[in-house]
């Protein structure tokens, strides 16, 4: 009975291995960079991480549902362009709120486009979202041919806040985890995991598989809107390719966090941890004085080792059993 519960716990909380990995990497990082946990440094890193965290959360919903979204990066570029167009240095709080709503709304429309193609036209998610990513990238260039834009200085200060000595990003993460816990206890979550795990069996059981698949891409679009908002608030300006490189990072973070790429297993906590792991690896390489020209290679090797970790773990366990 106890072993059943334990097994259950480990399966539900797929991020435990990643959490361990993050702890190890953080201690290595701390030994090389002793001001790591100083509020100013911590706040700075978290502020630059938040956009990717938000994006990876959206991506993990898609991946859990059995899909993948290669368009989230350029979607962020497009939504940043929307925000920069709508906000200027004199914008009022209401204007800004409207702009953020607009960005999330456009994100939802863009996500629906992906969702329609994948779920109702039954196109391959990899090819489809790769194709739509160029649509978003094209729109971004039309909206913002030259880098630019300005936001009120109060807004940047607001985004840099540390209420009660804790960076704002941690509050956002807290809200995300709370919402996820709530969603996890609804029927929608059961449908989401069932669809990702075995869509045929889910269909036979009466799960509205198409609607569920569609919804995951809408979530991804919505979170791309939030990510674009965080990115604009932290940089204060935009350019038409600012988010393009975030797509692959969002997928790697999702997988690093223990979410299964073929769907049906995982959660957003893993994605958040995954983003942090990616950042800490970069920190370690920087502070360990790895020669500049080797940094990309070392970074890649560590990521591959981290990705292979759970697999190696299982392999060793099977060999020990024999």
């Amino acid at each position: 009975m106890n072993s059943v519960r334990l097994q259950h716990f480990l399966t539900r909380n797929t991020y435990l291995f990643s959490l361990l990995l993050l702890a190890i990497l953080l201690s290595v990082n701390y030994s090389l960079q002793d001001n790591l946990f100083e509020l100013r440094v911590l706040n700075n890193s978290m502020r630059t991480l938040l956009p990717l965290i938000l994006l990876a959360v959206g991506q993990s919903v898609v991946v859990i549902g059995g899909g993948i979204d290669l368009s989230v990066g350029t979607m962020v570029s497009m939504l940043v362009a929307v925000l920069v167009k709508l906000i200027n240095a004199e914008s009022s709080a209401a204007d800004i709120a409207l702009a953020v709503l607009a960005a999330c709304g456009v994100g939802i429309v863009a996500g629906s486009l992906n969702g329609l193609a994948v779920s109702y036209l039954r196109l391959q998610p990899i090819v489809t979202t790769y194709a739509t990513s160029f649509i978003f990238s094209g729109v971004a260039l039309l909206l913002l041919p030259r880098p630019g834009g300005q936001i009120p200085t109060e807004l940047r200060r607001f985004y840099a806040q540390t209420p009660y000595g804790v960076p704002l990003s941690f509050y956002v993460i807290g809200v995300l985890l709370l919402l996820w816990t709530l969603i996890r206890s609804t029927r929608y979550a059961q449908y989401l995991f069932a669809t990702g795990s075995h869509s045929q069996a889910a269909y036979t059981s009466g799960v509205p598989v198409r609607v569920v698949r569609f919804s995951t891409y809408v979530w991804a679009g919505f979170f791309a809107g939030l990510a674009a908002t965080a990115l604009t608030f932290s940089t204060g300006s935009g350019q038409a390719n600012i988010g393009d490189n975030m797509t692959l990072d969002s997928i790697v973070a999702v997988v690093l966090g223990g979410t299964r790429l073929s769907g049906g297993k995982g959660g957003i906590a893993g994605a958040i941890i995954g983003v942090m792991i990616l950042r800490v690896i970069r920190n370690v390489i920087f502070f360990a004085d790895v020669p500049t020209w080797s940094q990309t290679l070392v970074n890649a090797l560590i990521i591959i080792a981290a990705l292979a970790g759970p697999g190696l773990f299982g392999l060793v366990r099977r060999m020990v059993k024999k």
Partner: protein, 501 residues
Amino acid sequence: MTLTLLAQGIVKRYGGVIAVKDGHLEVQSGVVVTLVGANGSGKSTLSKVITGVVAPNEGQLLLNGVPVQFPTPQAAKKRGIAAVYQELSLIPDMTVAENIWLTNEPLLGGISLRRGEMRRKTQELLDLFAGTTSNNLTPDTLVNTLPPDERQIVEILKAISSQPRLVIFDEATASLDRSQVDRLFELIRQWKREGMAIVLITHRMDEIFRVADRVTVMRNGQTVGTVNAADTTDREIVQMMIEGAAAPDAGRMPQIDTTAPVRLEVRGLRCGRLQRADLTLRDGELLGLGGLQGQGQTELLLALFGALPYAGTVILGGKPVRFRHPRDAMKHGVAFVPGDRATEGLLLSRSILENFLLPSWQRYGIIHDVESARQDATTAARDLSLVYSTLDAPASSLSGGNAQKVVIGKWLLRRPKLLLLNDPTKGVDVGAKAEFYALLRQLTAQGTAVLFYSSDDDELLGLCNRVLVLQDGLVRDELSGERLTRENLVAASMGTTHEQR
């Protein structure tokens, strides 16, 4: 509330293939109907029409006399119709409780799952099978850690959990052990008394007489009749299953020389679903394997080819062997022709030449002597009277019958001593079949021993001198000479044998 469901004139076509051409089924509250029929008689398809998984081309469903349509499984479920499917509908990464209540979860305020409630109600359901399952089966167990019998039980409980008025069990007993089947039948009798309507699809004759009130028999996609279980005999049911079937084509293999050396001897072979097989096969003999699909025939062939691990003794050409990989079997002159040529037998996008020579390249040196390979392939293609454009055309350009010839032809180049055939003529047209039979004749004349599984009874009756009938992983009967009749073949595949005549 009582219920009467009547399906009449059901027709279902898949492309040009007719799965059901005239299906009838009637079932009422408080009645157990068993639906029986040989391979491909349409019983699964008919039941899927009733549960909304398959949309019929013609015919109608009447629920309490009112015409209804079930475009989706949910629609049927809403009207109280549930099914226990053969190919399971469970989500591997979810727990037993989550699976049973999927789409039917108890909710708090219409939003939040009541997990405690789910767990408690699941335990109540699991208690129905208490004593016949392991301690590992709890509401919190993940389904992918369960053995097949317990998965089947979860599947049954899932169907029951919505308190349906009609349940269809599609071969639900196939993977259950004896005590679990006994318990299921006790439960079925109880549910029947409570007013449930039950349809049981089964391949076991004894089960019909244990629980059924009525027996509906299907043959070639048609319902041929319904009888009361109390007024019938297993002999009568078998007669209904085979009645009026065409006499098999002449052209059996010549009687084989009983003094020919024994090529293959199998003793107590166990492998997956196959519980025990014993057989002897002589050089030049064509031995048939019959029975309903999925009774262990494929496992037997794959084990002999070294593709599945097995227990037991295999003696090939007088020497005990144990193949761990198809490569070992091939070295000993064993060849295997798979049933699904598209996925297992051919590299569709590669050339005909490559497909022919795939198992044989090593004969042409480390740096391939492509010219002599091409000559051999051309000869083989001529021997097979293969219709093709050039040897360099992709295998996908061949018609079904010709593609199957390549699958067999690639082994002929190796001159096998033992040929294993896994339902090789499925979906092959009549002309190609005739050529294929001629090929078999030629091979056996050269002394190749052939073990031939076919899901087509006519083919076994027409070709073989001896047929082993498998049921539930056991060799139920060995038919030869006068006893090799359609009646005996069908009876044995349902688990009864007519020794008395």
